[in-house]
Symmetry: C2
Subunit: 341 residues, 2 copies
């Protein structure tokens, strides 16, 4: 299959995909996938559209140098995201704008427009997927296109697709894990003696936490992820505001260190469980005995334990974020679309 791609958003994640597309161009042919880029629209980097194809390597250089993409030759320049989706000859959209879990915008409109026009969508945007998963999947089905969002949870580490392929025929009754690297990093540092504020500052210095860390430290990001996991893997139909939530900002070094003295570690745990027809979903800091596999996940690493009927507990551990990992999540989504999955 040949993808004519339009990037909506060209920040770290989009550029991570661009790196891999360029690096693995030949290898991708083995998976039946070829590509070119016909449009890029980014609120900071500018907007270019050319149905004959854009030089992705050059676009990447300009974006890295924080120079406008509009310096490149292109049929059209300066289009909005929605115009880019509508007017480009793209058959697949890479939606990688910012996450908003209140109303999902602008990602929600981008995805809906693309699907309505019969274009495939791959995204890492947790907003629209945590809020409108069922609606958007229905639209994709009607239009006979695919909506893939592997990168919304644990970046490229296999989660959802464990269960269509590798764990086919196996059903999941509960999910429990560490899905936010920023808070896990902060808690790991606090165990070394830092107080919350200094650990947060260190996380910000290293680029693990945003200038406004609310989404991470108050649990919003983890809530979006456990909502998506519940809706996709447990057959739930819940929204982020239905998930019980407690963050880590009120946790003191004393609590972390006294847990340590008792052979425990405080972790921000996201969990969801089927109880008959109900789903119990929650994000909260919990002291775990160090013998718990999740207690030993340190730093920005993420992990998820699935309780299954066929295999008991299966745990997967991998990077929770990162340009390359998240770019890779988008790439495998494209590969599965190319293979009709």
């Amino acid at each position: 299959m040949r993808f004519d791609l339009a990037f909506i958003g060209f920040g770290t994640v989009g550029r991570g995909l661009a790196d891999l597309l360029l690096e693995k161009r030949e290898e991708l042919k083995k998976y039946g996938m070829e590509w070119r880029v016909v449009a890029i629209s980014d609120i900071k980097a500018g907007s270019i559209l050319d149905d004959q194809g854009i030089d992705l390597r050059e676009a990447l250089k300009l974006a890295e140098a924080r120079t406008s993409l509009e310096a490149l030759p292109a049929q059209k320049k300066g289009l909005s995201a929605i115009e880019t989706i509508r007017e480009s000859s793209s058959n697949a959209i890479v939606e990688v704008t910012w996450t908003n879990i209140v109303d999902g915008e602008p990602g929600y409109s981008h995805i809906k427009t693309a699907l309505s026009l019969g274009k495939h969508v791959v995204t890492t945007n947790k907003g629209p997927i945590s809020l409108y998963y069922h609606e958007l999947m229905k639209l994709a089905d009607e239009k006979k296109v695919k909506l893939k969002f592997k990168g919304t949870v644990l970046s490229g580490t296999p989660t959802f697709n464990l269960f269509d392929g590798a764990l086919a025929g196996c059903s999941v009754s509960s999910i429990r894990g560490i899905v936010n690297g920023t808070t896990n990093y902060i808690l790991s540092e606090m165990e070394k003696g830092l107080d919350y504020k200094d650990a947060l500052k260190e996380a910000q210095r290293l680029g693990y936490a945003e200038a406004d860390p609310t989404m991470d430290v108050e649990g919003g990001d983890a809530v979006a992820k456990i909502t998506i996991l519940s809706n996709v893997l447990l057959g739930a139909n819940i929204r982020p505001d239905m998930v019980k939530r407690k963050g880590i900002s009120s946790i003191t070094s004393e609590e972390v260190l006294s847990a340590k003295d008792c052979g425990e570690r405080i972790k921000l745990i996201a969990r969801a469980e089927k109880k008959g027809d109900f789903i119990l979903a929650e994000v909260s800091p919990i002291p775990l005995p160090v013998s718990d596999p999740l207690a030993n996940i340190m730093g920005v690493t993420n992990a998820l334990t699935f309780e299954t009927d066929c295999l008991g507990n299966i745990t997967i551990v991998g990077p929770g974020a990162g340009r390359r990992a998240t770019g890779y999540a988008l790439l495998t989504d494209l590969i599965s679309i190319a293979n009709g999955k």
Copy 2:
């Protein structure tokens, strides 16, 4: 796809698959899979063949009661395994006889005969796969049938198929893990104060270790598994006798406890690494710092860490054995064949 199955071997693992086939008959239709059993041949339980189909539930009852299957009505009785493969109308063979890593027999002949006749094969038998992987895959390709062996490593826990589906496009440079539950159980018990002999006795009492525990405790089982992983995921072409091997039978409680005092745990680690054109593969007990995720895998649980180019380290943790888990491995192999994969 409709499978007409012949079971070659009907011990714990084969019966584990039978349980799941019966339990999930309706659900399997969603995955495009239907089945009936046309033959069972087991060295202890007897041998029956009926092209019109065998009552699997009744066969299971007899086998559980250690009664000969030949009490059931059938067109033919008492055939050998090879005769059963040749004479049955089966289109897929479930090969679950015992593992022999010296010459792979009798599994090797069973699998070769089945593939030569154009029959698919699913197996959990580490002998033929660790010794003849490339040869058998070539034969399967020539005959346009599939040979699947997910259950040879970590039972149903996803390993190989992580990389055809969920991690497509990602390449693996090294593999490291705990792949033998028996030895991991023994080492876990020794940390509690038992000496090697008592820990082994306890493992035997619980059914984790065989009466002759050599294959497990001297590392042969782990060697077979790391050989298979190397050949399948690292593109190697090695045999079990090319893997450096040290078991755990000479490890003393003093060594285990003194490692513990240093914040370490001794684990039987199987590892394989690409070094240019060479593969370095080894099984040996290694003291790991408790901060290593593998150090915290206790009891009969197994775990594998894959070092990848796209995602850094990915670790998967799950059951290493068990009737249901291993039966499930065979079931997912059948599901993927039914889906042309």
